[in-house]
């Protein structure tokens, strides 16, 4: 399946805030149409890694290559859904204007991505009046607006009820047919159901391909023991 070269390469990446080392010697390859989940303890460096990929934090030169280049221009091919989408709820702005934010105004594309995430009925609704799950969909639509090849999501379901979470991941599964997905999540059932790769980030990275893992950890009654799995994912191979 992965005979082509990686679209995202992270090699020997170290990163520190002030003097506190956050990430140490991170090496990671992501291929086209991967569904990679980043897990790990809070403060382990998951969000930091995502921000480094996005260029929101300065990465050491040549440690991150996207589409085989370090040029900032490729960043326009990455869509990003930030963690906290409950900011500025009083802000007077309609869903469609959030979607088109910071880019050229193109209502046709905006309506198309709103339909893609199932929010076409709320095109002109004020953002603060939407539920957490609906707002998350708007943020995904905003990330899709520039037609990205890679979609990065930082805990997209942290403020959403269980049904809403399931819907978001179903949507990501659909999107995964067209693009690579990298998502930070604590939810192991999500990992088992949707992901094909897992990277456990705790200063260092431990990388797993899920196909082998699933075999290893499926018990006789086909149940996967999540606790054991979590311990396993954290172990350095």
């Amino acid at each position: 399946m992965q005979n082509n070269s990686p679209i995202l390469t992270i090699s020997n990446l170290n990163f520190a805030y002030e003097k506190e080392l956050i990430l140490l010697d991170i090496n990671l390859n992501v291929y086209e149409k991967d569904f990679l989940v980043l897990i790990g303890p809070n403060g382990g460096g998951k969000s930091t890694l995502m921000k480094l990929i996005l260029g929101l934090l300065p990465a050491p030169s040549k440690s991150i290559k996207i589409f085989s280049t370090t040029s900032k221009k490729v960043l326009s091919q990455i869509g990003y859904v930030p963690q906290n989408t409950n900011i500025n709820l009083n802000f007077p702005i309609k869903a469609i204007d959030v979607v088109m934010m910071g880019a050229k105004e193109d209502k046709t594309t905006a309506l198309a991505v709103l339909e893609e995430v199932g929010m076409q009925e709320h095109t002109n609704t004020k953002i603060g009046l939407l539920s957490g799950g609906q707002r998350q969909r708007i943020m995904i639509a905003r990330a899709l607006y520039n037609k990205p090849k890679i979609l990065l999501l930082d805990e997209p379901t942290s403020n959403i009820d269980v049904d809403g979470q399931e819907q978001i991941y179903q949507l990501l599964k659909e999107l995964n047919k067209e693009m690579t997905i990298i998502v930070i999540s604590h939810d192991l059932s999500v990992i088992m159901k949707y992901a094909n790769k897992v990277a456990h980030i705790h200063k260092r990275v431990t990388f797993h391909s899920l196909e082998s893992l699933k075999k290893e950890f499926t018990t006789e009654d086909k149940h996967i023991c999540e606790v054991e799995l979590l311990q396993m994912l954290g172990k350095v191979q």
């Binding site: 929101l56 930030p82 702005i93």
Partner: protein
């Protein structure tokens, strides 16, 4: 009221009141959505330092205040971009230091004592043609900025991290916002006073925020609401011979209370 309009000072007061209302409506909307109300308040108070220095050195007061307020705004821009977590402390710092500098220089200036009250509440009835020209110019500059960069300002205000991902120069627009806020405050100090500016930068915006569906409509709805407060306040001030700035603020406050009673707090 109609016969009052035949006086030039009254015409000037009306024009100035309307201009300040719309400037405050537009800038206040940006200031509120960016959570910079006390930052703007800090710059406004710091500007008093400019008044003191101008008096002492004999510079035109308008020029001294403008330069001082812009320096304060740039200082705050640097602080905010570098040390966001300590921003409250620095607001307090420029707020108090600016005023202290102003008071010391007024003390040192022989023979002349500027009235602190007129700085706080302004005197809208003493607006000159020159003041109106400056206000008109600032209004024009703000309209041009909106025409050129509305989408960028919207993105920076709503989600600055995402804006920077989209290639928008967040630092530039943040600094621009602070400098325009400083100019707004300076222009308004002489005319309506510092306290009224802060009231006009917040009360109409609170009401508009609840009814507007976009930042742009919020700006102009705020402008109309502020104009209503200003006109009614001026009329009360003229009819009952009361301080104009205080009348305008009370009209605004009472309207706000009525609005909250009607719509509920949120």
């Amino acid at each position: 009221m109609i016969e009052a309009l035949s006086y030039e000072f009254m015409q000037n007061a009306l024009i100035a009141g309307l201009l300040v209302s719309f400037i405050a409506g537009i800038m206040g909307s940006l200031i509120v959505v960016n959570r910079m109300v006390f930052l703007a308040g800090g710059i406004a108070h710091a500007a008093y330092g400019g008044i003191g220095i101008a008096l002492y050195t004999g510079l035109p007061i308008f020029l001294g205040t403008t330069l001082f307020a812009i320096v304060a705004a740039l200082f705050m821009a640097i602080v905010t971009l570098k040390q966001k977590e300590n921003i409250d402390i620095f607001i307090g710092l420029i707020w108090a230091t600016g005023m202290a500098i102003g008071i010391i220089f007024v003390d040192l200036t022989p023979g002349y004592n500027v009235d602190l009250m007129s700085y706080l509440f302004g005197s809208i009835l003493a607006v000159s043609r020159e003041d109106i020209i400056f206000m008109g110019l600032l209004f024009l500059i703000i309209l041009i900025v909106l025409k050129l960069w509305y989408r960028e300002l919207l993105a920076v205000s709503y989600d600055s991290e995402y804006a920077s991902l989209s290639g928008i120069n967040v630092k530039f627009f943040y600094t621009l916002l602070l400098v325009l806020s400083a100019l707004t405050v300076v222009i308004a100090i002489k005319v309506v006073g510092l306290i009224l500016v802060i009231a006009l930068l917040t009360i109409p915006i609170y009401i508009a925020q609840r009814v507007a569906h976009s930042l742009l409509s919020m700006m102009f709805i705020s402008g109309f609401i502020a104009s209503f407060f200003t006109l009614v306040g001026l009329w009360l001030s003229y009819s009952f011979n009361l301080t104009s700035g205080a009348c305008i603020i009370l009209v605004a406050s009472i309207s706000l209370i009525l609005f909250i009673l009607l719509k509920g707090l949120k």
